[in-house]
């Protein structure tokens, strides 16, 4: 499904992007839909898209032996996931599953990387937001760890 | 403020008459120490006039080690405490700020303060670790005590300071008001001599405010070094005239017993879950200095250290805070 620039504008991730940059993003994105319990990707999968959740909720976690899944967090509307798609080796660090019917924007990671290389301003804005996402995830994970260790 | 004079034997007899209505405490020196004893006329010659200073700080008369604080404030006998040095009198001002606070007035402390006449002694000498003057505290009282006493041979000279002091002075007989400044010139000379001695002994010691700055900026090394010999016995806090932290202990029928505590005891800040912010000894050691020289001055008008030096004398590890401060300068 094609993506309208107006849909991209509504996403907080892109709030500082110029009109031109938003059109670029729209041109390399598509909209995808997932059903409840559908796996978007597994831990250690090779990733080709960066996702932003438009509607619904997703669960994020890690896999243990004997098909056991540990839920570590919930992805909410407006949040980015699958950031590993733009960093080598492009392998996912976690699995993601839809826990409600969900709609995402899928951005072609290879084309996104090309745009980052071409336009420094676009690249800086994109990387800043991705860094913030990862920073929050790391901080939350540390907090979770300290809670579980009763520190 | 004015002076009166009374012969020493008449002074002692006046005190004996007052024993009918008051408890009276005087400093007595024996082979072991100089400390407060109840006044007895037949022991009056053992009263140690103008010698610093009783081992017990004045705070102990107002904040007992242990007391029931729900039993009711009964009518206690008035007291006259004679012989407190000015460092103890000034220390009481901080305790007044804490315990006579308008929002929560301690009724037991208030009753004791209202019930007590304070007659301080001018210090005509110094102990090894006296450093009151370095903190702006004079070795004699001109305010906050009700009267101040200077003995001159067989004469007792009293500086009458407050209205309560005036009432007390009126009970002394026979006494005479001194109008000639020459008759008290010996006191002036003693003051100058003691202040000169204190200045020489404590040369270079930073004042109260500067000490706070040094303590706040000090790195961890100095605390580790000086805390090395500390065994957390709490002697410094117990003997200190301004330290007054306490515990409230529950007794049956919702009675509460207030018992003196010390931040130097391990577990002072331990909480139910087991965390203890002052667990590490150097940190606990530093905490007391931060409290006295940095935090209390931000919170209260009066000083949390009046330079009496008892903490140095009492420390069984022979830790000398003034050496620490000199090292920081």
């Amino acid at each position: 499904m094609k993506v309208d620039v107006e849909d991209i504008k509504k996403i907080k991730f892109f709030e500082k992007f110029t009109e031109q940059q938003l059109e670029t993003v729209a041109s390399i994105s598509s909209v995808k839909e997932f059903m409840v319990k559908e796996i978007i990707f597994e831990q250690y999968d090779e990733l080709t898209d960066v996702f932003i959740l438009l509607q619904g909720s997703m669960s994020l976690g890690i896999s243990l032996p004997k098909d056991k899944r540990i839920h570590l967090g919930t992805i909410e509307e407006g949040q980015l996931f699958s950031w590993s798609a733009i960093f080598p080796p492009y392998i996912s660090t976690a699995w993601v599953m839809a826990i409600t019917p969900a709609k995402v924007i899928a951005i072609d990671a290879r084309k996104l990387n090309a745009e980052i290389d071409k336009d420094c301003d676009f690249g800086f804005k994109t990387m800043s937001k991705i860094a913030q996402t990862i920073s929050h995830r790391l901080s939350d994970t540390r907090f979770q760890l300290m809670n579980q260790l009763n520190l | 403020m004015y002076y009166i004079s009374i012969r020493k034997e008449d002074w002692h007899r006046s005190l004996e008459k007052l024993l009918l209505t008051c408890d009276i405490f005087v400093p007595v020196k024996d082979d072991y120490s100089l400390d407060y004893e109840p006044f007895r006329l037949d022991e009056a010659e053992h009263i140690s006039y103008n010698n610093p200073k009783p081992a017990t700080p004045l705070k102990n008369f107002f904040l007992p080690v242990r007391e029931n604080v729900t039993a009711g404030v009964d009518g206690r006998k008035p007291r006259i405490i004679i012989g407190a040095p000015n460092c103890d009198i000034e220390a009481l001002m901080l305790l007044d700020e804490i315990y006579l606070d308008e929002t929560f007035t301690d009724p037991y402390y208030r009753q004791r303060r209202n019930n007590t006449t304070l007659i301080s002694f001018d210090c005509f000498g110094t102990n090894d670790h006296c450093h009151c003057l370095s903190y702006g505290v004079r070795p004699y009282s001109v305010e906050h005590a009700d009267l101040a006493l200077a003995a001159d041979g067989d004469d007792i000279c009293l500086r009458v300071i407050t209205a309560r002091g005036e009432e007390f002075a009126a009970l002394l007989s026979p006494s005479r008001k001194l109008t000639d400044t020459n008759s008290v010139s010996f006191i002036e000379q003693k003051h100058q001599s003691v202040e000169a001695s204190l200045a020489a002994k404590n040369k270079g010691l930073p004042d109260y405010h500067d000490t706070g700055q040094l303590v706040q900026k000090a790195g961890n090394g100095v605390w580790v070094k000086y805390a090395y010999k500390c065994v957390s016995c709490g002697a410094c806090t117990t003997i200190c005239p301004t330290c007054s932290c306490f515990l409230l202990i529950d007794k049956p029928d919702f009675e509460k017993v207030k018992q003196m505590d010390a931040c130097q005891y391990p577990g002072f800040e331990r909480v139910a879950g087991g965390d203890d912010a002052l667990f590490e000894l150097p940190h606990r050691f530093r905490n007391r200095y931060m409290c006295k020289y940095v935090w209390k001055p931000q919170k209260f008008k009066h000083m949390a250290c009046t330079g009496c030096g008892r903490c140095i004398e009492a420390c069984i590890g022979k830790i000398n805070k003034n050496e620490l401060f000199m090292e920081l300068t």
Binding site: S57, S59, G61, H71, L72, G73, T74, E76, G78, Q79, I99, H136, S139, D140, R142, F143, Q144, M146, N147, Q148, L151 | V69, T70, V73, I98, Y99, D101, T103, F104, T105, D106, P107, S244, C245, F246, L247, L248, I249, D250, P252, D253, F254, K256, D261, C263, F268, E269, R270, V271, A272, G273, G274, D275, A277, C291, V294, W295, K296, Q298, K299
Partner: protein
Amino acid sequence: MTNNTNIYKPLRAKLVDVIEESPLIKTFVLIPEREFVFSTGQFIELSVDGVGEAPFTPSSSPLVSDKLEVTVMKTGYVTKIMHELKPGAVMGIRGPYGRGYPVKSFEGKEVLILGGGCGLAPIRSLLFTLEHMKDKLEKVILCYGSKSPTDCIYKPLFSRLNSIDKFEAYRTVDRTEEGWDGPVGVATALLDKIKVKIENSVAVVCGPPIMMKFGTIRILEMGYRDDQIYLSMEKNMSCGLGKCGHCMMGEFFVCKDGPVFTYKEIKHNPEIWK
């Protein structure tokens, strides 16, 4: 105030009900022997006869003066004995003490509340007050996290809050359990999904020290100023009167100058998260 003539003497209160909130947490419902009034965010010293006392912020409404609810987590000696008490027991209350939330200054604003664990107890009391004054508020948002679904206290609270006009309540758990289909993750993760006008808002953070630390950092990142953030510092309060010295946090007596502080007031103190 429990006793105007003797600051150390407790008021007696009859325990009329004990509600089990979670395996380690119970709410005690008390009827004081006379009317007891407290401001939102103030605390009391609750005692077991002849055993000991501990500080708690009531979890009931400050608008109710003939009944008091206190939520107690079994943590140490005194709280262990408290948990063994049955209705009919008589407990002691001293207080109320301290400086609570300046709720009057919240008027006209959006209130964001970030809570964790047992921090929901004082938050519940604050929510009662905010509900009472909701016509004067723009919005109230609660983001709360517990370690697991079982550890969450006041479970019916969230659906009730979401049914009140201008109120939004979100819940998450660190660790999921069978039957839980809500968000998983820490409370700070919930902050990414809320919409709040930061320039006309205050943030209230209440929970264990770790949660307060991470929460404050995240709220500052969101754009809140340090004087917009209110922290309830629970620190070994003992006498409650600003005298015994046990709760000193730098130059502050937490029992008297707090327990509610703005982050601006205390941020210079390196010990605040201990």
